[in-house]
Symmetry: C2
């Protein structure tokens, strides 16, 4: 039996460094979904349209279909550069930038990222998740934490992004866990909550200890056979604890929501809870879709 | 003209994770030197003897030649495990361990590393450099800093290693510079001393800022075209500043010597100088040779 045919009213695209995800949409309803590993990093400028068409070709009707895309696809090395918009700003405050396409059945538009001049910082993709969160939580003021390879702490007030700061915690965890000497002590998948909490507390209260505590993960394995689950939980706790110490001005006494996948949000929500900050958790993919939908609506409204 | 033939009285070997270096010795005089990339990490147990023979074969006479080796060659995955000796201890306080050899012309001996139970820590190879430094600097008391992939801070008193702590600063610099998003902003070789000093001061005085300042290296490039030399110097300064903050109990008000290559010791000596701690600098290879020579002498003395 052939797959039921889908014609998208518009197409939502989340296009990051290492992945490409597309949804066939009708209004805010998802009709179909497809993804591939054609992230921005492995494509040259001419590769973007074919990579997209590979996923969405079957969803296209005769009229040009709007394609709303967010993420690294708008970087200088992306399909077309969508220059950063400067904060303070609404997350979708700048109009999307058209990308060149040969196929007349698509009309691709790329959502610009945001920049902060001082301290220098940038985001691409998170602005769309933030827009989605604000579309679903009207009049929400407070702090959004978006954990990932590069975690963002974002101060939102009156519908605007006031300021934000990026931490490389996720990338550090991945590099140290997979490529440093610590990799020998982290094999496997287990997790140890008390070890996470203890390590978190060590660097949250004394962040200067991070540099000296990392190698102890290896030494505790060599000398005292520390299990890998404890090692992995300690590495996560040490890094997130140091991040919490540095981001203290963001979360202390604030209303906080954590946006991301179940896997990335859990240690952050736990860590905040341990500081007496109960955090709302919101699914990252859902926020991306809600943000792209908000962008599509404002586009239609403006035509 | 054939190379002049050399017969070694004994052979000194520095055998690390990624390199193998051998010297043909007569007493404390170097007769010849050879090296290869046959580090511990790429050899299985049966590979050590051939890798060594490849370098030293031409130096061997008829009698068994003592081969004194230090470094990761004595790790569990090495030629033979030379179990850690526990501090407080003299750097060469434990006797070297014989390694099995098929060729009767060599008598290989491996110098044990040192361990500290609490806080858990280990070293292999640095104990020999420390022994070399102490052989050349009689009655020296104070702090030795041995920068490298894993920097060691070592408290020496009355000829013994009292305590030590390892920092992964060198490995972090290498991973962040070559494999993280920062690599795009660090290309090239330049150096900027004021940028190094400023970054050092930021994390030395406020180590909790490290986690948040790393990504700013990327953002300053994207937004303000920060030159790669400044980016690289800032990354080094931020990491060493955080290390100095954590190792403060080691160096504050102490006599300090920094042991290593010209490249690794320079930023540490500069950083200590900026804290008002003038540090002696000693060449790492020379200390290794002096330490292996001290081990050879104590071996001969004990026969």
């Amino acid at each position: 039996m052939p797959e039921q045919s889908v014609v998208a009213g518009w197409i939502a695209v989340d296009w990051g460094t290492t992945h490409l995800r597309a949804w066939a949409m009708q209004g805010s309803t998802v009709l179909a979904q497809a993804d591939s590993a054609d992230g921005m990093a492995k494509l040259d400028r001419d590769g973007f349209e074919p990579a997209l068409m590979h996923l969405v070709n079957d969803w296209l009707g005769c009229d040009p279909t709007p394609v709303l895309a967010c993420g690294m696809v708008g970087a200088r090395q992306g399909w077309v550069e969508a220059p950063y918009h400067t904060v303070p700003a609404k997350p979708l405050g700048a109009p999307p930038i058209p990308a060149p396409a040969n196929d007349p059945r698509i009309a691709p538009l790329i959502i610009p990222g945001l920049k902060q001049d001082t301290p220098a910082d940038v985001m691409r993709g998170e602005e769309t998740q933030i827009a989605g969160f604000l579309a679903l939580n009207k009049d929400w003021d407070g702090i959004l934490c978006l954990p990932g390879t590069h975690t963002k702490w974002v101060h939102v007030s009156a519908g605007e992004i006031v300021s934000f700061q990026t931490f490389m915690t996720g990338e550090l965890f991945a590099l140290l866990g997979a490529r440093s000497v610590l990799r020998h002590s982290l094999a496997g998948d287990g997790w140890d909550e008390p070890a996470f909490a203890a390590a978190l507390n060590e660097t949250r209260s004394r962040p200067e200890r991070l540099a000296g505590l990392l190698f102890s993960i290896r030494a505790e394995d060599l000398l005292h056979n520390q299990p890998a689950a404890i090692a992995r939980s300690r590495l996560s706790g040490l890094l997130i604890g140091a991040e919490l110490a540095a981001a203290r001005a963001y979360w202390l006494g604030q209303q906080v929501a954590v946006i991301g996948s179940a896997q990335t949000t859990k240690p952050y929500a736990t860590a905040l809870d341990l500081q007496g900050v109960p955090a709302t958790v919101a699914d990252g993919t859902r926020m991306t879709l809600a943000g792209l939908t908000a962008a599509y609506r404002s586009l239609k409204g403006s035509v």
